[in-house]
Symmetry: C2
Subunit: 379 residues, 2 copies
C-alpha cells in the first residue's frame, strides 16, 4: 500500500499492484482520477471500447468523459443497469458491435460501472478475439472492493448466475471515489458487507477502522471511505496473488456467499441486495460455528454486533423456505462432486474450510436460522 | 516424441507432451485408443459431457462409446456438423444443458469431432463455470495436426470467424486414427495442407516424408498417416510451448492463413475447404517472396511442386475479386493498429514476419495471383 508520491497529479490517490498469471494489475484509488498517468498510458493511441450504462452516463457523464479523454479512438458501448447486463442477449450484440467498429487484438475495453457491468465488461474483453486488454473502472463500493479486482468475469444463464465466464485480469483498476457521491445508502451498506467480510477474514486493522467509522461510512463520507476501500482492496489483492484460480486460499472470499447466493436465488434476485444477502450468509456461517471449540466466541460476538449495526432489511424468508434454499445450494457451481465447501470463521483473521457437513446438520441449522437469524447466530 | 513403452496396451501409440500456461497436455496418437490408461484416468468417477455430432455418431458410434466407457456419469451433447457448430445459437443451449444436467467445476468435457467441433467444445469448456477440464478427441486430419492442439478455442460471429473465444488447453488430446478411415479424400487433402505448412516452416524431415508418401497419404493409408500426424503435431507442440499466446513465434502457424481466411470469407465459406484455401494462401505468400534476396528459390520451387501434387480444386475467384479480398484482410482480427503481419517463407525451416507491406504492392501481387495463382507463384 503506497501513497502516491508528492509531485504527481493526485497526491491523495492510493496505488496498489497485483501480480497475476497474465501479468501485473495496477490499482488506483482516490477522488478525481481523470488525468492519472496510468490511465493516459493505457488509453493513448488505441481503439477504446467504453462500456457503461445509461443511468451512470446521466449521473456522471462529465466525469466519464474526462476519464476517457486520453483515448485514441473512442467507441461507446451500452448495457442495461444492474444484473440484466449479464446475459448472452446483451453480450452477443456487443461482441458484434466491437467487431463491426473495427476492434483488433490491440484494442482496449474500459468497463465503467458497478459489479454487474465490470463482470460483463471483463467477460467481453476476455473473449473478444480471445482476449483484449481491460481497464476496470468500478463505480460502486461493492465493485471497488471486490468485483473489479481479481479477474473473475462472467455472465448469467437463466439457470444460474456467473455460470459462463473466464478469468481475465484487468491491466488497470481505476476506482474514482467521486462516483460514490451518488450511491444510494443501501448500495453503500451492501458494499460495506464485502469490506467487513474481507476485514473479518484477513484484516484486523481494517475491521477496527470500519467499527470506528461506521456511521460516516454508511453516510458516504468520502474521507472515511477511501482508506476502507483501499484496505479491503489490498486484502483482496493479497488473496488473489496467492491463489489466482481459486484452488484453495481464495475460497476464503466466499465467506457468507454459500447461503447468500441461495438467498438471492430463492428471492429471484430482488428484495435484498447482494451484500445484504451475504451478510445473512455470514450470520449463518457464524451460527454453524457457534459452540465449536475452534471458534472464538468473543470474535463471533464482535462480528455479530457489527453486522447488527448495519440495520439490514429483514430477511424476507421463513422456515418454509428451507427446502428451496437447500436445493439451490446443492446446485452451487462451487460444489465439487464431494459437495459444498463452507467457509467458517474461527477467530479474527482466521477461518476454516469445511467440506461434507452432514446435510441433516445443515438442515437443522437452517431451520433455526430462518425462524430468527439474529437470535440463532448469537453466541 | 516417445513411442509407447512395451507392455502398454497400445505399443504402436505415439505419446507427446506439451507444457502450457495452465499445466501440461498429454497427447496420444494411434489406432484403437479405447482403453488407453490416460483416457481412463481422465474420465473415471467424473461427470463427463461428451460433445459430438449426429453425423459422427452414425459413422463411429461404437468407437465413440468404447472411448467414453470409463466415464463416471455420461451426459451427451450434440452440435451440428461443420462450421455451423461454432455459433452463439448453438453454444447458448449447450451451456444451459450442461448446467441443468448438474455440471460442476470438476466436471469434464470431451469434444469428439473435427476442428469446428473441437473449437466449440474448447470454448464451452473454457467458459463453463469459468473453465472445466477438457479432452480433445479430434477425428479429422486437420483437427489432429492443428485445431485440437494449443488451446485456441472460439466460436464465430456473423461478422467474422473465431472472433469470440479463449485460450483453454486440453488436459489430454486423444487422436484415434481409426476415425480417419471414413474421412473423404478432400478432407484428407485439407488436413495435409496444414501438415505441409508445419513441415515447410519447422520440420525438414517431415517435409521429406510427406513428399515420399503423398499418394498413400492422400489415399488415407493409416500406416503412412500416423507418423505424419504425430510429426506435424510435434511441430505444433514445439511452437506452442515457446509462444502459447501468439505474441511472436506462434504467428508462424499463420503461414498461408492471411489470404486463406480472406478467400474463405469472400467465398462465404463454401466451395473450398479450409486447407485448400490455405494452400492458395501459401502460394500467394510464396509469390510475395519470389525474387527477394532472402528467399531460397529452390525451396520455393520445391514447395510449389508439392502443393501442385495435391491437385487442389481450382480457385473459384478471379481478378474482379481483388477488392473484396483486400477489404476482408483489412478486417483481419490478427491485424494490429499497424496492419497485417505476413508470414513469408525464406528457406526450408525458416521464415520471416513482415508488417507494413505497402498496400499497393499487395494489390498488384493479388491481381497477378488471381489471374493465375500457379503461374504467379512459380519461381
Amino acid at each position: 500500500l503506497t501513497e502516491g508520491a508528492p509531485g504527481q497529479a493526485r497526491p491523495s490517490a492510493v496505488r496498489l499492484s497485483l501480480r497475476q498469471p497474465q501479468g501485473e494489475t495496477a490499482l488506483l484509488f482516490g477522488a478525481g482520477l481523470p488525468g492519472a498517468p496510468e490511465l493516459a498510458a493505457a488509453l493513448a493511441g488505441r481503439t477504446v471500447f467504453a462500456l457503461s450504462t445509461p443511468g451512470l452516463r446521466r449521473l456522471h457523464g462529465d466525469l466519464i468523459a474526462r476519464l476517457l479523454a486520453p483515448a485514441g479512438r473512442l467507441v461507446e458501448l451500452e448495457a442495461p443497469d444492474g444484473e440484466a447486463a449479464k446475459s448472452l442477449e446483451i453480450a452477443g450484440p456487443l461482441w458484434r458491435r466491437m467487431l463491426a467498429a473495427g476492434g483488433k487484438r490491440d484494442s482496449l475495453l474500459v468497463a465503467i460501472g458497478g459489479g454487474s457491468l465490470t463482470d460483463l465488461g471483463g467477460f467481453l474483453a476476455g473473449t473478444f478475439l480471445r482476449g483484449i486488454d481491460l481497464v476496470q473502472a468500478p463505480t460502486t463500493l461493492l465493485a471497488m472492493v471486490d468485483a473489479a479486482i481479481g479477474g473473475k468475469t462472467a455472465i448469467d444463464l437463466p439457470e444460474g448466475k456467473n455460470t459462463v465466464g473466464v478469468f481475465h485480469h484487468p491491466a488497470l483498476v481505476l476506482a474514482d471515489t467521486d462516483f460514490l457521491s451518488t450511491l444510494p445508502a443501501g448500495e453503500l451498506r451492501s458494499g460495506l458487507v464485502e469490506a467487513i467480510k474481507m476485514a473479518a477474514m484477513l484484516g484486523p486493522e481494517l475491521l477496527a477502522k470500519i467499527e470506528a467509522d461506521l456511521p460516516a461510512l454508511l453516510a458516504g463520507d468520502a474521507r472515511s471511505l477511501l482508506p476502507v476501500v483501499a484496505g479491503a482492496a489490498a486484502a483482496k489483492c493479497w488473496v488473489v496473488e496467492r491463489d489466482p484460480n481459486e484452488k484453495g486460499l481464495r475460497k476464503v472470499l466466499n465467506f457468507g456467499h454459500t447461503l447468500g447466493h441461495a438467498i438471492e436465488g430463492v428471492l429471484g434476485f430482488s428484495g435484498l441486495r447482494h451484500g445484504e444477502a451475504v451478510a445473512y450468509g455470514m450470520l449463518f456461517a457464524m451460527q454453524l460455528q457457534a459452540g465449536r471449540p475452534e471458534a472464538d466466541p468473543e470474535f463471533l460476538a464482535r462480528l455479530h454486533r457489527l453486522l447488527a449495526r448495519l440495520e439490514l432489511p429483514p430477511l424476507p424468508l421463513g422456515p418454509g423456505d428451507a427446502a428451496a434454499l437447500e436445493a439451490f445450494m446443492a446446485r452451487d457451481k462451487k460444489a465439487g462432486e464431494a459437495g459444498l465447501t463452507w467457509v467458517l470463521p474461527t477467530r479474527l483473521g482466521e477461518h476454516q474450510l469445511r467440506q461434507g457437513l452432514p446435510p441433516a446438520e445443515v438442515a437443522a441449522a437452517l431451520s433455526r436460522f430462518l425462524a430468527d437469524p439474529w437470535a440463532a447466530a448469537r453466541v
